[in-house]
């Protein structure tokens, strides 16, 4: 009566799916580049204003012609587009009007600060959102679930920067517990324990703000996903096996409920970077988001476009990360092992 293991190798769509994914990402980068290329040329006024800023107004006609030629603006649109793509590939994003330095250089300086701020926030928000969401689903319909749900929906309705402003008003100004401005102390030298403590203290409020602003979506998604998996047969089976409530909840229900949440967390990086724009602005935090705000205020177009491109690439990197790591969590997504035989 032995049935030998018949490993049926089902058709694997993974290579096709991979191709679609990659082409999707290339397409997104192309769209972002095209937006960057077209907007200054479609917008009203002389494109020189968008490249040189107010300086362009002081030029006479002859100087303008010369700069046009130097920048290749007198060539055909297609040639310009080609030049632009080539420049981007070699990390030549033009010069910032405000800082008078290459855009790529400024981006490299600012990026680590944003990563330093967003990284802990993602982890905190995901952990708290998942644990609370799982508990709320487990105690669904009870008073604890109802109050958590209400609280999270209200938190979701608050603008993130407003949460930041309130935290500053209370914890920085009134209580004086944490500094609310910048990322590094004004005085003192870099390095050393004291320096790192100061940097960490300046991270507390922005990280808290982003955590509070994003925890709601993680909570709501985990709760909904848990409610789905709690109704699954394998959860009942786990209970019928005589496992403890905690094992049923965490090892069976939550383990499966996490799959969509994980995807959401990695994909929400894009939204997070967007949130960072306003939050970094409130805290005058020298990251990429604040840089976007500065470039808007100064109408520093090359810088603005550079930041947009960088954030787009960051979002795509998050997508790739999600694609690559998801199969680690879900054996069904591992290629070459799918089969449906009964």
């Amino acid at each position: 009566m032995h049935i030998s293991g018949v490993r049926t190798r089902g058709r694997s769509f993974s290579s096709r799916r991979l191709f679609i994914r990659i082409s999707q990402y290339i397409l997104v980068v192309c769209v972002a580049l095209t937006i960057n290329f077209t907007l200054p040329r479609l917008a009203p006024g002389d494109p020189l204003n968008y490249i040189l800023g107010d300086e362009a107004n002081s030029l006479n006609a002859e100087q303008r012609q010369q700069i046009y030629r130097e920048l290749g603006l007198d060539r055909s649109v297609l040639q310009q587009y080609g030049d632009y793509l080539l420049g981007t590939l070699t990390f030549d994003l033009g010069d910032s009007i405000r800082f008078g330095r290459p855009v790529s250089e400024i981006l490299v300086e600012r990026l680590p600060w944003t990563v330093l701020m967003i990284g802990p926030a993602i982890i905190l928000s995901a952990l708290l959102g998942i644990v609370l969401g799982a508990l709320a689903a487990w105690k669904r319909g009870k008073a604890g679930d109802a109050s958590l749900l209400t609280g999270m929906i209200i938190l979701e309705s608050m603008p993130s920067f407003w949460i930041g402003m309130l935290l500053i008003a209370v914890f920085a100004v009134n209580l004086g517990w944490f500094p609310s401005f910048g990322a590094v102390p004004f005085t003192g030298t870099e390095g050393g324990l004291a320096y790192f403590v100061e940097v960490a203290r300046r991270l507390v409020l922005p990280v808290t703000t982003i955590t509070l602003a994003t925890i709601g979506s993680n909570f709501l998604l985990t709760r909904a996903s848990m409610l789905n998996t709690l109704g699954e047969d394998y959860v009942q089976m786990a209970e019928a096996k005589g496992l403890s409530e905690r094992a049923v909840l965490f090892q069976h229900a939550l383990r499966n409920a996490l799959l969509p949440v994980y995807t959401n967390v990695t994909l929400s990086l894009g939204a997070l970077v967007s949130g960072a724009v306003t939050v970094e602005t409130v805290f005058a935090y020298p990251g990429v988001g604040r840089l976007l705000y500065e470039s808007v205020l100064a109408r520093d177009y090359p810088l603005l476009q550079g930041v947009f491109l960088l954030i787009t690439i960051g979002v795509i990197a998050a997508n790739v990360l999600a694609d690559l790591t998801y199969p680690l969590l879900d054996p069904r997504a591992r290629s070459g092992t799918r089969s449906e035989v009964s």
Binding site: G141, P159, L304, P331
Partner: protein
């Protein structure tokens, strides 16, 4: 047809929204001062003349706040309207016409959803120049995409419904179908989509204005916060009356749309309904009296049955009153005996199995009767006692065993877990035991590390049986263990089950809708109809003696190979 909590939330949302809209409409008539006029010294605290105090240049904040309602709500709602319009058109076109239109539109949606939305809005807004129209356009540009995707999938679902296919079959034109059949089906979904878009729209207006991309000539709540931030409102106590009110107004407006959206969505998708019971403990109704001792080992010679169910009743509490799924059911199972329970779907068989395992989930609850297992009432066991009982003494082979295995763990792990829950042995020993069990049900140990999706339906069923037997239970409840399998596999599984039952001297409750299957395995049979056991009888070599008219009809419906009236060969 909403649940009370949704109605309550929906009403709250509606009330807040009406209040905000009234503020927006009546604003100019009720403000005490012109919000742009410098009417008082800077940073006046709230007083009767200046309800919310004044800002750094001496403008009345209360007037500003009320006048801002207009712009904030207008931008949010108008951009949501535009986005809804585009989203609906794109979704309908993509979902209905398919082909290249769908490919292009959905590609566009994917690109849009991948691009970081706030930076995108900022870049476009900077080049278009700040202003209300710009704000509305960029917000609409960003939020139409998810709506298009959602509507497309709804259209695809609606298209597969019978009546649309029927209309197509009788040659109805595309536009006719779109107008008469698809739009009415999709419209109820558009409203919650719009509400959610308005919610996002208001938040985005706030962010854009806060970054200085609002119209400088008018005020909105986001603009107020922009000014407050750029002029460092925190440094004085003014933040209390300068920061809090606009933020609260934004939060309330967004919240009102969220709550409305929740209520509307629940109306459209009944599956989202949660039953809310405050304060009531789930299991309290089940508790008869706490019993601190282990279910005692029973003398095999004793005439007492292993399981004795007396007057068991289970009800499901619904909005329209309680429905009695199991109605005063009594039966007993002796050691080593197979009791077959036959009934059509909805007769309460599965609910009864769940009650025996104490796996009833609200809204189902035990309302009466006793279930004596080895002399102890199952309903009176506490959590720890239940944990020791399940799988160890009574094991369940659940209905739809195909889905009873957790997709993310190997079958070995799921077996080991069951073993370690009850036996104090090392993990390595448990693995060896797991492989033995797999062999027992006819699976070679080299498949032990397979995931459920790598196994066939029959093999998954065998694994579930192995899990049920992992701790040598004295009673196995098999709930439709062969349903969903093809006939040959069904026969194999039945053979396996009967073989194991007699070898391990298991008592078994075999539940099925299939009388012929039950007759082939059961020593005794009980017929269930509408929650009641209407007939019980012993089975002798595949034949039983029905008393109730229902079971007589059941038996008469059995296909027979040997008929009483044999047709003589000519």
């Amino acid at each position: 047809m909403n649940t009370p909590i949704a109605r309550y939330l929906g009403f709250t949302g509606f009330a807040i929204l009406v209040f905000m809209l009234l503020l927006a409409i009546l604003g100019p008539f009720i403000v005490p001062y012109d919000p742009n006029e410098l009417i008082a010294p800077a940073f006046q605290p709230p007083s009767w003349s200046y309800l919310l105090g004044t800002n750094d240049i001496g403008q009345d904040i209360f007037s500003e706040l009320i006048m801002s309602a207009r712009v904030s709500l207008l931008v949010g709602v108008v951009s949501a309207l535009i986005a809804t319009l585009f989203g609906v058109i794109a979704g309908l076109v993509a979902g209905y016409f398919g082909g290249w239109a769908e490919t292009i539109l959905m590609r566009l949606v994917d690109v849009k959803l991948t691009l970081p939305f706030l930076p995108l809005m900022i870049v476009v807004a900077v080049f278009l120049g700040p202003g209300l129209i710009t704000q509305i356009l960029v917000i609409a540009l960003v939020i139409w995409a998810p709506m298009a995707r959602e509507l497309r999938s709804q259209v695809l679902t609606a298209r597969r419904r019978g009546f649309v296919e029927a209309a197509e079959a009788i040659g109805a034109g595309g536009r006719y179908i779109l107008r008469r059949h698809l739009l009415p089906n999709v419209t109820p979904l558009i409203i919650p989509q719009f509400v959610r878009a308005a919610n996002t729209g208001i938040l985005m207006e706030t962010s854009l204005s806060f970054l200085g991309l609002g119209d400088p000539t008018v005020k909105s709540w986001g603009m107020m916060l922009f000014y407050a931030n750029s002029r460092s409102a925190f440094l004085t106590d003014a933040w209390l009356w300068w920061l809090l009110p606009p933020g609260i107004c934004i939060t309330l407006s967004v919240l009102s749309f969220s709550l409305l959206g929740y209520a509307l969505e629940e109306r459209v998708r009944p599956r989202l309904r949660t039953s809310w019971r405050f304060g009531a403990s789930e299991r309290s109704a089940n508790k008869v009296r706490p019993l601190k001792r282990e279910p005692q080992e029973q003398d095999p010679e004793s005439p007492e049955p292993l399981l004795s169910v007396q007057q068991l009743s289970v009800e499901y509490v619904t909005a329209n009153g309680a429905i009695r799924a199991v109605d005063s059911v009594s039966f007993s199972v002796r050691r080593g005996e197979v009791l077959g329970i036959v009934g059509e779907s909805g007769s309460g068989k599965t609910t009864m199995a769940a009650a025996l395992m104490q796996l009833l989930k609200p809204p189902g609850r035990l309302t009466g009767g006793r279930m004596l297992f080895a002399g102890n009432d199952l309903a009176s066991l506490d959590a720890a006692e239940l944990k020791r009982l399940r799988n160890n003494r009574i094991a369940l082979i659940p209905q739809a065993a195909m889905n009873a295995l957790n997709p993310v763990y190997t079958v070995q792990k799921q077996l080991v877990e069951a073993i370690l829950a009850h036996q104090k042995i090392r993990r390595s020993e448990a693995r060896i035991r797991a492989n033995h069990l797999l062999q027992l049900v006819g699976i070679t140990p080299d498949r032990a590390r397979a995931y459920p999706h790598e196994l066939s339906g029959g093999m998954r069923q065998r694994v579930v049986i192995a899990i049920a037997l992992a701790n040598n239970p004295s009673l196995v409840i098999a709930d439709e263990p062969t349903t969903g399998l093809d006939v040959i596999v069904q026969a194999e599984i039945l053979e396996l089950l009967t073989d194991l039952q007699s070898r391990l001297e298991l008592a078994m409750i075999f539940i099925s809708h299939d009388l012929s299957v039950v007759l082939s395995v059961a020593d005794r049979i009980a017929i269930m109809l509408e929650g009641k056991i209407v007939d019980q009888s012993s089975v002798n070599s595949g034949v039983f003696h029905p008393n109730h008219p229902y079971s007589q009809r059941l038996q008469a419906a059995l296909p027979r190979l040997k008929s009483k009236h044999t047709i003589p060969f000519s």
